[in-house]
Symmetry: C2
Subunit: 446 residues, 2 copies
């Protein structure tokens, strides 16, 4: 369908959703998103024009089903996949992409740092109807002499960004806000720079004694984004990597710069979201959501977790889903999942599943807490099915139907028990629902 | 040790911690708790006297290591175990108790509803140095003719409570606040009564057209509590079983009654905590914590989750840990865990482990968010170990050391990699910590 939509716009010089929105045009992508979200298409247009919502939809990702990231839309989740030098290949990453989509990822980032990253990316884009994001710096350093970030030039950067844009990448994380003047602030921290892209940029600036090359090349990058309608995800190089570094000067100074870069992108009609932390104690999350809106002019906030403790290794999908839910309630537009392997190793397909479901819970619960229209409908249907012992309907409504059925059936001895009006928790005599139902029936009789 | 402590108090008529606290006596239990919590023992005494903190420590649980539940103390977690009619026996439940203690449960509730519940309880108390809680009504109905709650008398109730008190149970959940006049409110709900004990009481009141027998027998129950220093956990029969029923009239009316019962218990120097929901949208959690303090005179709040969505079946340890963390931040004193099997079946030992760790994360993160003294120390040590690639120290500091090591090692090909200064996520060339460390070293040189 998108081929047709874009075909009609062939002669337009700038083909970003924001450019159309500013001209008052409701694109097919906006109408599609409006239908999915149950919102008015004019609202979508005005939010995109204002920069409060983005539709990351590279014109070369033909299979893409458009989706929106912004406070007016449902809270979204992103799944990070990608091969490392030690593990993964195009097939394994395409499989992770499929798992991500099956369990409900709204976007997927391919963060491969491996020799054949081009092939991985192609495979991932090929199987996905969700927007794909990347961090171009990974490929750039991978391709550099000795894989040394110091051998990277601005030309290398622009070439790589253009290549990936042509491939159909819908959003780029670039670490353009980590300016040289912030380096001394990093030295004060417990954990320095924990963003992979940010650390590479830091090393580059530090060795070359020169300004961040993504900042220097920012206008040229915007031109590429204009041509393909690639969105920018302004990376938080200085996101805190532990509670001790949360909401510190380094983090907040970079956030201000991301706000300036947002305005520059909007001038060029390029869509922007802002990346956020990381590791944040629960009591600082609301503040972090508010300060982003202030510094970054309401550009959508795309947060990683945040983790609310540092000691959950092996369970950081949980420690981060806690922070993510509160972040979503206070206005984060997209939640980047964290898997149980975080801080320990590269996730496999099962870790991806665990991470996704934790974040589906987070995003959905945030939507419920914000009181979005219809957000609680599925919960209400589930509660009805539960009270009526309709097990199949419960499995259907669960975020992970297979898991729910597996757990239910696991503890019951035979098939007649599997559809019974009780489960192995209470058995036939002690089921509260059953007793309670007879209670209400009695109440109605009396 | 407790045998000696209690030996000295043999001649006292009332041996509850609250009775001593009110007389100005700092018991050995209070001193023990003060040392564990890093608080002044006079503060513990005054909190116990005021009813804002309880030390559930039945004089017959000799192995007990005293612990405190209250806002001034660290946030605690409880693990529910117990056999059902379909699954479990004394050995399996004792094993779950051991798993609970190993991973850090602060109290354990034995919720058995099975033929040999006495034996299960004895086995569980026998292996545990943490306080054990029960819901006496389960045993009472189990022992009643035809296992029919309608055949339960007040004498049965008092006999069972006394028997369990003698066995060493440190707190009893009794559903004394579900008064007959609340029955019409239940009929208005989507899910009625989802508390097992509550539904039994509802059935009893409804059939007998008489007031809640636990309410009627309340003074006699208090006398038993006085004699053994069993604490009361005033059950919320009308906790919401789904988001749709959250914070409704039924829930709040019962909570007010629990407040009245609290004052009556305090008059008799019996320690009390209040049980809370359940299923609550994230945006109503702070309100729920505040209203409990108001209605129940600051008695410690002991909440089940709450779950912030109804559609997480198979992952309800996560959907509830999210609510529990926010509840802890806003003042809940103890969090009752939920396992991945919630709504689906009886948890096994592995489900217990998953539930406990999710709740250790919740309680710890709540302590950090409340800014408790020293709460973040372990996080800071973890962050240092992480930045220094001290993997063994990281495993040591993780809430589940075995899991952390297993996940780390799983993705690495050989032993030399297992202690390397990178993991399989980024490999040797792209580790942000490594690059960041060279950055700070450079900064110090420059």
């Amino acid at each position: 369908m998108r081929t047709e939509w874009i075909g009609k716009r062939l002669n337009d010089r700038v083909r970003t959703q924001m450019a159309y929105a500013k001209k008052g045009v409701i694109t097919e992508e906006m109408s599609y998103v409006a239908a999915v979200e149950g919102l008015d298409s004019e609202l979508i247009r005005s939010e995109v024009a204002r920069g409060r919502m983005i539709i990351p939809a590279n014109i070369n990702h033909k299979r893409l089903k458009p989706m929106a990231i912004g406070l007016a839309a449902r809270c979204k989740i992103n799944a990070n996949i990608g091969a490392s030098a030690l593990l993964g290949d195009p097939a394994s990453e395409a499989q992770k992409a499929c798992v991500s989509l099956k369990y409900g990822a709204d976007t997927i980032m391919d963060l491969s740092v491996c020799r054949n990253a081009d092939d991985v990316r192609e495979a991932v884009i090929g199987v996905s109807d969700a927007p794909i994001g990347t961090v171009p710096m990974y490929q750039i350093v991978q391709d550099a002499k000795n894989q040394d970030p110091l051998n990277v030039s601005i030309d290398d950067i622009l070439r790589a960004v253009e290549k990936q844009a042509k491939q159909g990448v819908s959003y780029f994380t670039i670490h353009a806000g980590f300016l040289r003047r912030l380096l001394p602030l990093v030295a004060k921290r417990k954990m320095g720079v924990v963003s992979r892209g940010g650390s590479l940029i830091g090393a580059w600036m530090s060795e070359h004694k020169a300004e961040n090359p993504f900042f220097t090349a920012y206008d040229d990058i915007l031109e590429i984004c204009r041509a393909y309608d690639a969105s920018l995800s302004l990376g938080d190089s200085l996101r805190p990597g532990c509670l001790a570094d949360a909401s510190d000067e380094a983090q907040l100074e970079e956030l201000k710069i991301l706000g300036d870069l947002t305005l520059r992108a909007w001038e060029k009609e390029v869509q922007v979201m802002i990346e956020g932390p990381g590791h944040i104690p629960l009591n600082q999350i609301e503040y972090n959501m508010k300060i982003e809106r202030r510094y970054c002019h309401d550009a959508p906030f795309y947060v990683l977790g945040p983790l609310v403790t540092d000691i959950g290794a092996g369970y950081d999908h949980i420690s981060s889903a806690i922070g993510a839910t509160l972040a979503g309630m206070h206005g984060a537009a997209m939640l980047c999942y964290v898997t149980p392997k975080e801080h320990l190793g590269l996730p496999n397909a099962n870790d991806v599943r665990e991470g996704i479901i934790a974040y589906k819970i987070a995003a959905h619960s945030a939507d419920v807490a914000r009181g979005r229209k219809g957000a609680r409908d599925r919960d209400d249907l589930m509660s009805e099915a539960r009270f009526n012992f309709d097990w199949n309907r419960q499995f259907e409504l669960a975020l992970d139907s297979e898991r729910a059925k597996e757990y239910h059936d696991e503890t019951l001895p035979n098939d007649s028990f599997k559809s019974a009006e009780f489960c192995s928790m209470c058995g036939p005599k002690f089921c509260a629902y059953k007793i309670s139902k007879s209670l209400s029936e009695k109440h109605e009789r009396d």
